[in-house]
């Protein structure tokens, strides 16, 4: 990943103190014509110069590998897992996420060469939305604290998702999709055993849908798919426009419902004004719905805005 970022190096306050010290030593050496004091002050100067290079080198040997931050809800603080690896031992490397509102205290790590460390960078609570990940600043003062080498990784290819806050007391709606209801009548006649087709088992399919008879015959796990079943009757419709209250409250209520339905692995349909309906029951569906809620903007559909 981002292996080469620009490294900035600057002297610290204590660095200026030592520069003043070595100049004083040099003046003393010149004044007394003392060769050994000359040597000591040159050694100090060389040391300070070398340490700048060492500091830079120790930072350059570091690589970060940010993972995608887990989505969080509005009002929650998040944590961003980042992996750091260095080809050199570095007892104090600081890593810090530069957030828009205020900077967090940098984390200090003790890196061993070749061992990957994982840190969780704190992410502050933010309002609903999709945000770019903050810039990551990696800095070190090793070995003697005269210099700070700093590198900033900007526009890392990850999003941080802040879903609407899951609150709302309204009960789950009971309405189902009318089109599906018609089909349901037909299929009821043909009985429970009637299924439309079989497809290979995918992890996550309900146990009750696995065709064990077929498994006994062929040794292959397959899942039954009905045209009409309880599953479809179960498909609850979550409709934005049927809710009252302002946009945020509606989105929060929808989020709350989606979470409770997802916990029961139940299928549902999400209807948002101006967007196509989303059907499904699996976790990808849940994620897509939550992301849709996160990105929903009433500005696109002024009629539905409250």
């Amino acid at each position: 990943m981002a292996t080469t970022a620009k490294i900035r190096i600057r002297p610290n306050k204590i660095g200026f103190g030592f520069i003043a010290l070595s100049i004083a030593m040099l003046l003393a050496a010149i004044n007394y014509g003392n060769n050994l004091v000359f040597f000591i002050s040159f050694l100090l100067l060389a040391l300070m110069g070398n340490s700048a290079w060492q500091t830079r080198r120790h930072l350059k040997s570091c690589q970060i590998q940010p993972l995608s931050p887990p989505p969080r809800f509005d009002g929650e603080a998040g944590a961003w897992p980042v992996q750091i690896e260095s080809s050199l031992n570095n007892p104090s490397i600081h890593i810090q996420a530069i957030n828009q509102n205020g900077e967090a205290e940098p984390l200090t790590l003790n890196l061993t060469a070749g061992r990957t460390e994982r840190v969780e960078l704190p992410l502050p609570p933010m309002p609903r939305g999709r945000y770019a990940t903050p810039d990551v600043v990696l800095s070190t003062r090793y070995p003697i604290g005269l210099w700070t080498a700093e590198t900033r990784w900007a526009s890392l290819p990850h999003w941080q998702w802040v879903y609407p806050k899951p609150v709302g007391e309204a009960p789950l709606p009971t309405n189902v999709l009318p089109a599906h209801a018609e089909n349901a009548d037909v299929s009821l006649q043909s009985g429970d055993d009637q299924f439309d087709h079989l497809r290979t088992y995918v992890p996550g399919d309900a146990l009750s849908r696995i065709a064990f008879k077929h498994y006994a015959r062929s040794g292959q796990l397959v899942t039954q798919h009905w045209h009409s079943s309880e599953a479809i009757h179960d498909e609850i419709i979550l409709d934005y426009s049927q809710l009252s209250g302002n946009t945020e409250m509606r989105l929060q209520q929808l989020t709350r419902w989606i979470l409770s339905l997802a916990a029961d692995h139940r299928a549902f349909t999400l209807k948002l004004p101006g967007e196509s309906d989303r059907h499904g029951a699996d976790s990808t569906h849940v994620t897509h719905c939550l992301e849709a809620l996160t990105l929903f903007s009433p500005a696109h559909n002024p009629r539905h805005a409250s």
Binding site: G33, F38, N50, Y142
Partner: protein
């Protein structure tokens, strides 16, 4: 004081305590219990948790110390009081250190303590101590900056890395950084601790006894040509014409006024050029051979042929002189004034005068021979312990009673004899001889000598050394031979081949090298060095610029070397390192390993792209795989695998170069 006390970094505490202790030898006596008490207090705080002294107590202590320094030195300004204040200030800071910030202040003070240590002494031993303290401070520094490092080993490792990479730079700067002559501001140059009196401007019989057993070096001489024989090694320092109550006084002109030049005719073929490195001295005498003709800068030659320095000799001083070994001083005539002074006789010593009266009227050289003959025939002996002579008629007692003496006795008696016989005569003091050590001549204080000069019309002043008549071995073999039986002679002066003596000579050679090349490195030596680059004409700023350019280049080279040593494969396990070179070459040929691709798949792909090397690649892959995964892979097999991988990478490199040079040429 409401903050929590930060524990004192152990290495820092130890190094500061050592640096303070190193200053004890040149601190006033009252400071010693103070330092011990302070160190013990801090130690007890660390071990037993004693409370540190309170702020008012520290302020009181600081005031008491300032007063004591003022009483001792009558000043707070200057090197000695300044360093005492600095050292005791560091002690107080050590007792006050509670926060991390205090520890950084202590660190800075530590560097100042090193510098002040070097203001007192610049010997090799002190230099080594300073370097050790410096390394200790850097180790402490790394600990202060990285509280994460708990162990001492990584700190030492990091400090050593910094110092090692810094040493070449420091050396280059040392060599190339311009050395402005003289002080920047008007501080009195401190007298070096080793500065000693050496030869005095007065001569009283018995004074040289102090010097005669002093084995410390007076100066060292390097001859630009061949070394001259022992009998010619008369190092002239002072000429003494006036005697009052048994004490001779040197003719020292006021060197800051115009000095009368010597009236001298020299034989240019007898010229020798040599460089003297004079030990620090509180006088301004510059020893020379015979008659100096080409003088060092900022020096004057008196009309008696003595060389004086216009600059103080507080520090070791090196100068180059050319001398004529054969010369005629005041050849034709002697001024009336000089003649009178060199014939003046003190009252007393009637027997001496009676003896000399017998020779009156003879030719001067004849008189000289008579006098020397007297010494030779009357049973005189040369000894370092001549015994006490009476105050009155001292020379009579020596010449006719004790007949035991040292060079000053012989020179005094001979000079007076010559004067009594009507020949102008005077005493010359200086050094005689010296010991050959390597390529230089080591002249010690014990080689101090006194001889006479008589004036002969048409010849000028002629050197006569009556000691030579009594103890010829003193001149040819040095003082050790002449006074072998004297128990007073220290081991360093004895001319046997004992191990102790060999060591002492070797030590002197090392010290001489140190003085010449390290302490004596100056603007003029730098000019010699720059001559190699044809840059000897550079001014101070030019030199500064040149120094920076060279240092910048050196720095880049060091970084390159460091990077080379720290290449990634160096830290890999051996099997990865063996494979690294091959995979490196393959990716340079455009065959890069895809993520998730197995070694086998990758090599198969490589074999297809490079059919010529298919067999070698397959073999290497098999060996590497076995090494990595086989439960048992012998050392021999490891060596084979390494060799095979190495060969393959070389072949691939060769192939790549050939492809680059002759693209498209296919091998059959």
């Amino acid at each position: 004081m409401n903050n929590k006390i930060q524990p004192l970094d152990r290495p820092l505490g130890i190094v500061i305590a050592l640096a303070i202790t190193a200053h004890l030898p040149h601190m006033p006596i009252w400071a010693i219990p103070l330092v011990l008490l302070g160190l013990i207090w801090r130690l007890q705080h660390e071990w037993r948790g004693w409370p540190l002294p309170t702020q008012p107590l520290l302020i009181l202590l600081a005031m008491v110390i300032s007063l004591l320094v003022l009483f001792t030195y009558h000043s707070l300004w200057g090197r000695d009081p300044g360093v005492t204040l600095l050292t005791l200030g560091a002690l107080l800071k050590l007792l006050e250190t509670r926060q991390l910030r205090d520890q950084f202040a202590l660190l800075l003070l530590g560097f100042f303590l090193i510098v002040s240590l070097l203001l007192f002494d610049q010997g090799i031993f002190t230099a080594l101590i300073s370097l050790g303290l410096f390394a200790g401070l850097v180790t402490a520094w790394i600990g202060l900056s990285n509280p994460n490092i708990r162990l001492i080993k990584p700190r030492i490792k990091a400090a050593a890395g910094l110092m090692l990479a810094g040493l070449p730079i420091a050396l280059l700067l040392f060599l190339l950084f311009p050395r402005p002559p003289g002080a920047l501001w008007g501080t009195k140059q401190p007298v070096s601790a080793q500065a000693r009196t050496g030869l005095s401007d007065q001569l009283t019989a018995g004074e040289f006894e102090r010097l005669s057993t002093d084995p410390t070096p007076a100066f060292r001489v390097h001859f630009n040509g061949a070394m001259i024989p022992p009998a010619k090694r008369y190092w002239r320092v002072l000429v003494m014409s006036d005697e009052t109550s048994n004490t001779w006084h040197a003719d020292i002109p006021n060197i800051f006024r115009s000095v009368r030049a010597p009236n001298v005719r020299v034989d240019p073929t007898s010229a020798v050029e040599y460089t003297v490195t004079l030990e620090p001295s509180d006088r301004r005498f510059l020893p020379t051979l015979a008659m100096a003709t080409v003088l060092p800068p900022r020096s004057v030659l008196s009309d008696t042929g003595s060389l004086f320095s216009l600059r103080p000799l507080n520090d070791r001083y090196r100068y180059t002189v050319t001398s004529a070994l054969s010369y005629h001083l005041d050849e034709r005539r002697l001024s009336a004034d000089t003649r009178e002074r060199n014939l003046a006789l003190p009252a007393g010593d009637p027997e001496l005068k009676a003896l000399a009266a017998q020779w009156k009227g003879l030719a001067p050289l004849e008189i000289r021979d008579r006098a020397l003959n007297y010494f030779r025939s009357q049973g005189f002996s040369y000894t370092l312990t001549p015994g006490k002579l009476p105050k009155q008629n001292r020379m009579d007692a020596f010449l006719f009673d004790t007949k035991r003496g040292y060079c000053e006795h012989y020179a005094s008696a001979f000079t007076l004899l010559m004067r009594a016989a009507g020949v102008p005569a005077r005493i010359v003091t200086g050094y005689q001889g010296g010991e050959v050590n390597g390529d230089y001549l080591l002249v010690r204080q014990a080689d101090a000598h006194a001889w006479s000069e008589i004036w002969v019309k048409g010849e000028g002043w002629i050197r006569v050394d009556p000691t030579q008549t009594v103890a010829p071995e003193r001149i040819t073999d040095g003082i050790a031979q002449a006074a072998q039986q004297d128990a007073a002679l220290p081991a360093a002066l004895r001319r046997d081949d004992s191990l102790a003596r060999q060591w002492s000579l070797l030590g002197d050679r090392v010290e001489n090298g140190w003085n010449q090349y390290v302490l004596g490195y100056s603007g003029s030596t730098q000019t010699d060095l720059l001559q190699w680059f044809g840059l000897e004409k550079l001014g101070q700023w030019g030199r500064l610029g040149f120094a920076f350019i060279v240092v910048a280049i050196a720095w880049l080279m060091i970084f390159g070397l460091w990077r080379h040593l720290g290449r990634p494969e160096k830290q890999m396990p051996p099997v990865d390192r063996a494979w690294f070179a091959v995979s490196n070459e393959l990716s340079r040929l455009g065959i890069t390993r895809q993520p998730g691709e197995t070694l086998q798949d990758y090599c198969r792909r490589a074999e297809q792209s490079l059919p010529d090397y298919a067999a070698a690649i397959r073999q290497t892959q098999q060996l590497i795989s076995q090494w990595r995964y086989a439960s048992c892979f012998s050392q021999r097999s490891q060596a084979l695998a390494e060799k095979t991988a190495q060969n393959l990478s070389l072949q691939l490199k060769w192939f790549r170069w050939r492809e680059n040079l002759f693209p498209g040429r296919k091998r059959n």
